[in-house]
């Protein structure tokens, strides 16, 4: 298991969170300690062991393709930070030509 230093800028970018310089320093140290602690998982022989995603085997739950009750547009938009004409308003995402 890699125990190298965590590249905090890279990971924060992947996580889409702006961190302050102070947070970067604190988190890098704390996460370094946590990663050093989880390093002990290297002691376990996992050869031939199946990974487990859930506590018991899951089966797909399939529905018939029939419309059922759903949220109204009003309910779906009630927590939207900005809305207009039954749609959520976002900052412009395409550059001007």
């Amino acid at each position: 298991m890699p125990s190298e230093k965590i590249d905090i800028d890279y990971v924060a970018r992947l996580a889409r969170i702006d961190l302050t310089e102070e947070e970067k320093v604190t988190f890098a140290e704390q996460l370094g300690n946590i990663l050093a602690y989880v390093d002990k998982l290297n002691q376990v022989d996992v050869s031939g062991v199946e990974p487990m995603a859930h506590a018991f085997a899951l089966e797909n739950v399939l529905d018939d393709d029939e419309p059922g009750p759903a949220l109204t547009v009003k309910d779906a938009l009630r927590n939207a930070p900005a809305q207009r004409d039954n749609q959520i308003v976002v900052p412009k995402v395409v550059e001007d030509a």
Binding site: M1, P2, I6, I8, V11, A12, L14, A15, R16, I17, D18, L19, E23, F27, Q30, L31, N33, I34, Y37, V38, K40, L41, Q43, V44, V46, V49, E50, P51, M52, A53, H54, A55, F56, L58, N60, V61, D63, L71, D75, A76, R78, N79, A80, P81, A82, I88, V90, P91, K92, V93
Partner: protein, 486 residues
């Protein structure tokens, strides 16, 4: 103090059925109690007394018409602020959802409403259920009713504190790594984490979906059984909801008498266990032996790896689940963003607290290219080994007994290092990894009058037997009637 608030949910249910008390009187008593002690306990994020009284009035009307819905009709239940209740706030104790109002009911909420329970207040928690003390709440830290300088535990700290402070007879919490059982132990109440899949997670804000379970808090095992009965059962809207025939949990308390074989893991009296907790748990073991049950040592050597396994899997799942809080659709939105992409970065920076950021960063790291196999996949394999070890132990024992926590409650502000806080979950976390049911029941007090919790772990979907084993112990011990003095 009004004698209504001292009653258990079972006693209230009986009094309501006998019409010696009305649901409105019950609701008024708990509202008045909350007004009197809440400035010291701080269990709630928000309360809507008018709404609660309207539900109580409707319950009285049903009963008058001969239409009472069941044992919980008219009994107040407070919910952790992570479960959706239509038209009520749902904050997860986060700035991110500070102004969020639920457009629908969680499955558990629907069931409670259908059974006439009177919903009361939104309970404080660690932000997005990440923590063991409620100190990670963006709003305030809840207090332990037994000593208000101390934490109530977490993440469901408000749920435990409100029941211990008699602000509600019952409450609901959620448990991902101990978040029901640890605060139950710290606050001297009963807390049950059901088998993964027994209670639908529909309408529960997700933290780590393969580990999260909803469960009851109560002052007695019987009350926990009543509330579990109300919320358990299959729901097609949660693909991990399990189809199983539900036993009568309350009837099981007296019908199931054992004798049981109780396993005590060799590893559970390890270094770091408070000597007073050790003594209390050894007394509990002695009780079961004297009561005619067999106590047998079992070995769970993988326990040592449970915390690191958990912090990889839970943070990985959290980093994925919490990606939905994007500043676009229903959350806090930054007013300082330069463009659409910057909106994600700034909204999340402003909306999440430090522990949530830390876990998202860790989860993102362990899932990132080049590290996935080394961390996430390896942890999933170790999870298999942890589960196998439990299932092997259950071939020779009915129930496994451990302390709930290595220490009693601690002072607010005492644990600043995140890793030290994580270690508090040593006895509870492997139960979530294995998907098993676990209950914490009061097990006496330390010399400084802080509650101690005994954890009992059951076979999958054997909550009936688990509750019976816990009930047996509870009935034989005097402190089940102990109430925190506020």
């Amino acid at each position: 103090m009004s004698d209504i608030i001292q009653k258990t949910a079972a006693e209230l249910s009986q009094a309501l059925a006998a019409k010696t008390v009305s649901a409105v009187e019950v609701a008024q008593a708990f509202i008045a109690r909350t007004e009197a002690v809440e400035d010291r306990v701080k269990a709630f994020n928000s309360r809507d007394a008018e709404w609660t009284l309207a539900q109580a009035k409707a319950s009285d009307e049903r009963r008058a018409a001969g239409d009472a819905a069941g044992p919980l009709d008219g009994v107040p239940v407070a919910l952790k602020d992570i479960l959706a209740v239509k038209d009520q706030p749902l904050t997860c104790s986060s700035r991110m959802l500070e102004n969020f109002v639920s457009p629908y009911d969680a499955h558990v909420t629907e069931l409670l409403k259908a059974q006439g329970a009177v919903l009361w207040g939104r309970l404080n928690m660690d932000e997005f259920a990440m923590g063991s003390s409620t100190e990670n709440s963006a709003f305030h830290t809840s207090r332990n009713p037994w000593n208000t300088d101390c934490v109530p535990g977490g993440s469901s700290g408000g749920s435990a504190a409100c029941v211990a402070a008699l602000e509600a007879p019952l409450s609901i919490g959620s448990d991902t790594g101990g978040s029901i059982r640890q605060p139950a132990a710290f606050c001297g109440v009963v807390g049950l984490k059901p088998t993964y899949g027994l209670v639908s997670r529909y309408g529960l804000a997700a933290f780590a979906s393969s580990l999260d379970q909803i469960g009851p808090f109560a002052r007695t095992v019987e009350d926990a059984a009543l509330l579990l009965q109300a919320i358990a059962g299959h729901d097609r809207r949660d693909s991990t909801s399990y189809k199983t025939k539900l036993p009568d949990y309350r009837a099981a308390l007296t019908e199931k008498e054992g004798p049981w074989t109780i396993g005590v893991p060799r590893e559970c009296f390890a270094e770091g266990l408070d000597p007073e907790i050790k003594a209390a748990v050894q007394d509990a073991i002695a009780f079961y032996e004297k009561d005619g049950h067999t106590v047998q040592e079992v070995s769970l050597p993988m326990t040592e790896y449970a915390i690191p396994t958990y912090y990889i899997l839970a943070t990985a799942e959290a980093s994925s689940n919490l990606a939905r809080y994007d500043g676009i659709r229903y959350t806090h939105r930054s007013k300082n963003a330069a463009d659409a992409v910057d909106l994600y970065f700034k909204s999340r920076a402003e909306g999440f607290g430090p522990e949530v950021k830390r876990r998202i960063i860790l989860g993102t790291y362990v899932l990132s290219s080049g590290y996935y196999d080394a961390y996430y996949l390896r942890a999933q394999k170790i999870r298999t080994l942890i589960r196998q070890e439990f299932m092997q132990a259950f071939e020779s024992v009915d129930t496994i007994l451990t302390p709930t926590t290595p220490t009693p409650s601690f002072q607010v502000g005492a644990k600043e290092d995140p890793l030290a806080m994580y270690l508090n979950d040593i006895y509870t976390i492997n139960v979530n990894l294995a998907g098993l049911p676990g209950i914490s029941v009061p097990c006496g007090f330390t010399s400084s009058k802080l509650p101690i919790g005994l954890q009992l772990i059951g076979k999958p979907f054997a909550e009936d037997e688990l509750l019976a084993v816990a009930h047996r112990y509870e009935q034989a011990h005097g402190w089940k009637d102990a109430v925190a003095q506020l």
